[in-house]
């Protein structure tokens, strides 16, 4: 497959990282077709349930397509339903905001970030490259 857009590296294992820059070591599984780019308008999100745990794919107002884990790390809630502003999404239930590029969380009640996933757009189709790092699931959903 010819990747026309860069794979957004993000921090594949974007876990608790108080400060200290973490060098992202992005490892991705086999790509998955998400949708036609035309079917994801700017400011909207899609929930990809073909992977577990599910992934949320966002198209920002600037047109960038980015993917993070869909499940908030605080409580079982779908971030694809959240409040997207710029490059951040706020959990639809509470106030935690996740950076779509790094997976980092800026505010309680969530205390750890989510994984980011690779995204490419090829010939008008969005492809997801799921992270192979372990996810940060909320209490109650942890294995």
């Amino acid at each position: 497959m010819r990747i026309t857009n860069r794979v957004v590296p993000g921090a594949a294992a974007a876990r608790d990282q108080p400060d200290g820059e973490q060098v992202p070591v992005a490892e991705y599984g086999s790509p998955l077709r998400v949708a036609a780019l035309a079917d994801l308008p700017a400011g909207e999100a899609l929930r990809v349930t073909a992977v577990s745990p599910p992934v949320a794919v966002f198209r920002t107002e600037d047109g960038e397509v980015l993917a993070i884990d869909d499940t908030c790390t605080h409580q079982d809630a779908s971030l694809a339903d959240g409040w997207l502003e710029g490059c951040e999404v706020e959990c639809p239930l509470h106030a935690s905001r996740f950076d779509l590029r790094t997976g980092r969380v800026d505010a309680p009640p969530a205390k750890v970030g989510v994984r980011t996933h690779g995204v490419t757009v090829e010939d008008g189709v969005i492809w997801l490259h799921p992270s192979t790092a372990p996810p940060n699931l909320p209490p109650g959903l942890r294995p």
Partner: protein, 402 residues
């Protein structure tokens, strides 16, 4: 305000106090911050106390508000109660006699639950639910098969009833108002929530005032105004809370309905108030209004921090709160003041997927959406919430105290 304070003293170590310290640091403040907390605990999250913590689904560590490794550079004085404030010198007296000062003092002492009038102290099996200690004590008493009577069908009462059902107790909820959450949601949608409780086997007594409790060492029942006694092994009193401002009596501050503050939380020179203990000026209501929601205790400290540092105060969104009952996420944003007209936009309460808007006639007779309620409709709810008008945050209203 004048210059940036060299030291900030925050009284209250729960969400509002902690968020104030966090917001100050986030805006680059590098002066001294001291946080005084009455409870011995580090800052923790209260909403789960009546839900997943009560049912044992999450534990103590999950309640912490602080991310691991966070270094705020704050001096914590926990297990220490503030007992007085001298407004002119911004000096706080603690229960051990110590006096602390700060260039700025933030009052964030929260709320305290109302007690059932006329009930004796120390009657076993009677609980309030506000603190972690309260939740631990209640958890001990919630044994499967026991009879729980919840007095009050507000958030604490409704959520406790739901958790107790999950734990296998027999539950009766007694509410003086005609519907649960009537003050927050209105009677119409409060009754919709009531139907969810009834479907889950909770006995609901609405419009029934409580006369008192029966029992000598341990509670045996709840007596209603008509003389009926509802037998109980455990009683939870959830009849609302009042601002925890007794310690400020005699300070000269206006404590009508909470520490009265401007729309940025300013109380007096160098003194601020935020969270459940405060009543900020709300232009839409033309007066001071106490908002006891988690989100406000979380977002308003940023307004206080920015104002204190001489930065533009920023914006505040419409008030927002949530509740979870029987696996249904109930979300509400905006202001319900009574008299709004409710429109069902999607789903229904019966199917647990309701989205409803509250409308009021605006200028020119046009209807304005002023609030929205969702039941398990996070996406539609968020969309509707975004379209609600925010709060005016302007430090120079004439009718503000500071």
């Amino acid at each position: 305000m004048g210059e940036v304070p060299r030291s900030v003293l925050v009284v209250g170590a729960s969400l509002a106090g902690y968020s104030t310290a966090r917001a100050l640091r986030a805006h680059g403040y590098d002066g001294a911050i001291t946080v005084v907390g009455e409870e011995a605990e580090r800052p923790y999250d209260r909403p789960p106390l009546s839900k997943t913590y009560l049912t044992g689904r999450i534990g103590d560590a999950d309640l912490s508000l602080e991310p691991e490794g966070e270094r705020l550079g704050v001096e914590w004085l926990l297990g220490t109660r503030a007992v007085g404030l001298d407004v002119a010198t911004r000096t706080v007296t603690l229960d051990d006699g110590r006096e602390l000062g700060g260039d700025a003092v933030v009052l964030a002492t929260g709320g305290q639950p109302h007690r059932l009038p006329g009930t004796a102290d120390g009657l076993g099996g009677v609980h309030g639910l506000r603190s972690l200690a309260d939740a631990r004590a209640l958890r001990e008493d919630l044994r499967p098969g026991a009879r729980l009577v919840v007095v009050g069908a507000g958030f604490v009462g409704a959520e406790t009833a739901c958790s107790a059902r999950q734990l296998g107790l027999e539950v009766t909820v007694i509410e003086a108002a005609p519907a649960p959450l009537a003050a927050s949601l209105g009677v119409e949608l409060g009754l919709a929530v009531a139907s969810v409780h009834q479907r889950h086997g909770v006995r609901l007594e609405l419009g029934v005032p409580v006369a008192g409790l029966t029992g000598s060492d341990r509670v045996t029942g709840v007596e209603l105004l008509d003389g009926t006694v509802v037998p109980a092994d455990v009683v939870v009193v959830g009849i609302g809370s009042r601002p925890a401002v007794d310690w400020l009596a005699g300070s000269g501050l206006d404590l009508t309905g909470g520490v009265v503050a401007s729309s940025t939380g300013a109380v007096a020179p160098g003194i601020w108030a935020v969270g459940d203990c405060s009543a900020w000026y709300d232009r839409a209501r033309s007066g001071a209004h106490r908002t006891e929601h988690w989100t406000d205790a979380f977002e308003r400290p940023a307004v206080v921090a920015r104002s204190m540092l001489g930065l533009p105060p920023g914006a505040l969104r419409a008030p927002y709160f949530w509740s979870e009952q029987y696996g249904i996420m109930i979300q509400f944003a905006g202001r319900y003041t009574g008299g709004e007209h409710v429109v069902v936009e999607a789903g229904s309460a019966e199917t647990g997927d309701l989205l409803a808007t509250y409308r009021r006639s605006g200028p020119g007779g046009r209807e304005q959406v002023v609030a929205v309620l969702g039941m398990d409709q996070p996406r539609l709810f968020t969309r509707a919430r975004r379209s609600l008008p925010g709060l005016d945050v302007a430090p120079d209203h004439e009718d503000q105290p500071a």
